[in-house]
Amino acid sequence: MLSNLGNLILFITIFISFSIIYFSIVNLKDEKSVLKKNIYQLCLIQCTLIILTFFILVSAFITSDFSLITVYQNSHTLKPLLYKISGTWGNHEGSLLLWLIILTIFSFLFLVYNSSHPKNYRLYTLITQNFLILGFLFFLIFNSNPFSLLSPTPKEGLGLNPILQDPALAIHPPLLYVGFVGSSIYFSAAISSMLTNYAGKPFAQSIKNWVLISWSFQTIGILAGSIWAYYELGWGGFWFWDPVENASLLPWFAMTALFHSIMVLEKRELFYFWVIILCIMTFILSVTGTFLVRSGILNSVHTFANDPSRGLYILLFLSFLIFSSIFILFRKFQVSNYKINSNSKETFVLINNWFMIFYLISVLIGTVYPIFTEVLTNHKVSVGPPFYNTVIIPLVVLFLIFMSIGPNIRWINNNNINLNLLLKIFFASILINYLIIYFFKSYSLLSNFIIISSIFLIISTFLDLYKSLNKRSFNLSRLTSHLAFGFMVFFIGLNHNFSFEKDFNLKLGEKKEFEDYTIEFENINLEEFKNYKSVIGKFNINNNSKDLNLVLSPEIRIYENPSTLTYEASIRSGLMKDYYITMSNIDRSEFYNIKFQKKPFMIWIWISVIFISLGGLMRLFKNEKKNY
C-alpha cells in the first residue's frame, strides 16, 4: 500500500516538474515582469509532495514494513527507533529522496527570496533546477526506487550495518546534503545568469547567501563524519583521505573559493566569469563525488552496496551536466579588462582561490588517479594519506601567512603593509613555537613551520579583533572563521606530533608496562543488549608521574542482523587530551590485540571546525539583517 502511494506521488511530482518547466517557459515569453502566481504554487506543491514521499518512507522504516526492498535490506525490527529513522537515508535509494528534498526546497525558497531580481533570471534558474530535479526523479523511480516491492513479504529485515548506527552518522547525510546538494541552486543560477546576461553585483547578491548556507552546512557535515570516524571506527584518526571523505572535501574547496570571489564580484564587479565557473564546478564536483562513491569504481571503507547500472546512469547525468555547461560557457564567455592593483584585497582573494584550486586539484588527482592507471595501464596503485600529506601540507604554511596579511589590505589600493608589525608577530610566533618545543617535545621541520604559521595567523587575527573593537567596521564573521581555521591547524599540528600509540598483545590478567604507563587487563564481561552481545574488557591504566588512574572499557560487539563484529573504542575525552583504547581478538589465540593511544586536543579540533562554520552563519545573519 505504502509502495503504491509512494510511487504515485513520485509520478505526480514528475508531472508537476514538467508543468513548472512549461509554465516557466510560457511566462518567459510574457512581456510583463510579473512571475505568475501558479508557478509559486506549483513549486510549493512540488516540495510538499517530495517531503510527503519522504515521510511515507520513514513510516515504512518505523513500522518495519519489509514489503519494501529498501526497508528489508536496511532495517530490522530490533533496531532502536532513532536508527530505524536514520536508516531511511542511510542507504542509496532513501538518500536519493533526501537529494530531492534539498533540490526542491532550495528551488522554491530561491524563487521566493529572489523576488527583487529580474523575472527571466528567476525563471531560467527554475527551469535549470527542474531539469536537475527531473534527472534525479527519473533515476530514483526507474533505477533506485525505495518503494520497490518484495514479494512475498519477509518476516524480518537484514538490518543496518552496526557501525552506521551512531548519532553523528545519523545527521551526517542531511547536513552534507544541505551543503553539496544545495550547491545545485547556484549552479542553476549561474546557468541562468549566463543565459539572461544578469551579471555583476546584483547576481552576486542573489546567490551569496545560498553559497554561505551550503558552505556552513558542508563544513559541519564534514565535521560530523570525522567525529563519527574518530569515535566509532576505532583507529583513533579522524581523516583518512578515503575517496568518500575526499568527495565531500572537493566541493568544500570550491565553495570556499566561491564565497571569497563573490565578495569581490559584489564590491568591485570583478571576476564574474570566474564566479560562474566556480558555481558550475561546485555542483559538478558534488555529482562527481556521488558518482565515485556510489558506482563502486573505487575501493573504500564507506562503500554503499554496488550496482553497475547506478554508476552508468550517474555518469551519463554527469556528462550531460558538464557538456551543456561548457557549451553555454563557450558561447557566453567574454574576456573582461581588469585593472587590479597587486597591493589590494582583490589580489588576496585571488591568492585564496589559487590555493583552494591547488588543494582541490591535488585531492581530485589523488582520488581518481587509481582509476586512470587501471584503465590505461591495467596496473593498480593506492593513493593514501602519505600522498596527500606530502603534497598539501607544505603549502598550507604559505597559505596561513597569506591569510594573516590579506584581510587587512584595503580594497583597490593599499598604501603600505605594516612590515614592522608583521615581523613582530612573526617573531612572537617563533618564540611561542620554541617554548612549546622546549617544554614538551621537538618535532619535524615541517611541523615547526605549520605551528609557527598557524600561531602567526592566530596572533594577527587577535590583533585585528582588538583593533576593530575600536572602529565601527567590525567583521566578526571573518575574524571568527579565520581565527578558528588558525586554531584548527594549530591543534591538528600539535595533536599529530604529541599523540602516541602503543600496539601490543595481552592475555587476560596480564599487565603491560612501558614508559611510565602500566596497563592492566583486569577482566572480561559478557553482556547482552537489545540487538547485540558485548564482550567488555576492563583495563586499568596508571601513570604515576602524571597521577593518572583511569579505567577504560573497550568492547567487541557481536551483532546478529547483519552478522558482524564491531570493535568499540573506549575513549576518555578531556580538555587537554583524549585517552583511547581498542581491544580486538586474535583468531586461534588467547591473546587480545590492544591499541592504546593518547591524543591531545581532540576536543579543540572539533570546536575549531564548529567555529569556522559559525563564522559563515554569522555572516548570513548579518546579510539578512541588512535587508531589513
Partner: protein
C-alpha cells in the same frame, strides 16, 4: 639586536628536531601499508591475519637494519604497488606527483599575468 635574538631562537628551535628523525618508526611504516583483505584499512588499523603477519615480517626487517624504502620495495615486489599508500615516484606515477604542483605554478603564472596588466596600462 632584535634580529640577532630572532635568528638564534630560530636556529635553536630547529636543531632540536634531529632527535626524532633517525629512529625508524615502525608505526609509521604500518600506517603506510595497505591491508589487502580489508576494505580500505592500513595494517596499523587492522587486526586481520594478514595485518599481523606483515607486522611480524616488517619488524624482523627493521631488526635486520633495513631502511624504510627497502621494506616498501620488498613488499611491492611481493604484492604489487597497491600495497603501499604512498605511490613510489617512478615513471608511471610521475604525473600523480607533478601535476598538482604544475597546476599551482600555472595558477601563479595566471595571477602574475593578471596583475601585470595594470603595469602595462
Amino acid at each position: 639586536m632584535k634580529f640577532k635574538i630572532f635568528y638564534i631562537l630560530l636556529i635553536i628551535s630547529f636543531t632540536n628536531l634531529n632527535a626524532s628523525q633517525k629512529i625508524i618508526d615502525s608505526n609509521n611504516i604500518f600506517k603506510n601499508i595497505r591491508c589487502l583483505i580489508c576494505q580500505g584499512q592500513s595494517i596499523a588499523d587492522s587486526n586481520s591475519d594478514f595485518a599481523q603477519t606483515i607486522k611480524l615480517v616488517v619488524n624482523d626487517k627493521i631488526k635486520e637494519g633495513k631502511t624504510e624504502k627497502e621494506i616498501y620495495e620488498f613488499l611491492i615486489e611481493k604484492y604489487g604497488e597497491w600495497i603501499v599508500y604512498k605511490p613510489p615516484f617512478n615513471f608511471n606515477n610521475s604525473l600523480l606527483w607533478i601535476l598538482p604542483y604544475l597546476t599551482f605554478l600555472f595558477g601563479g603564472f595566471l595571477i602574475f599575468l593578471l596583475l601585470k596588466k595594470r603595469a602595462n596600462r
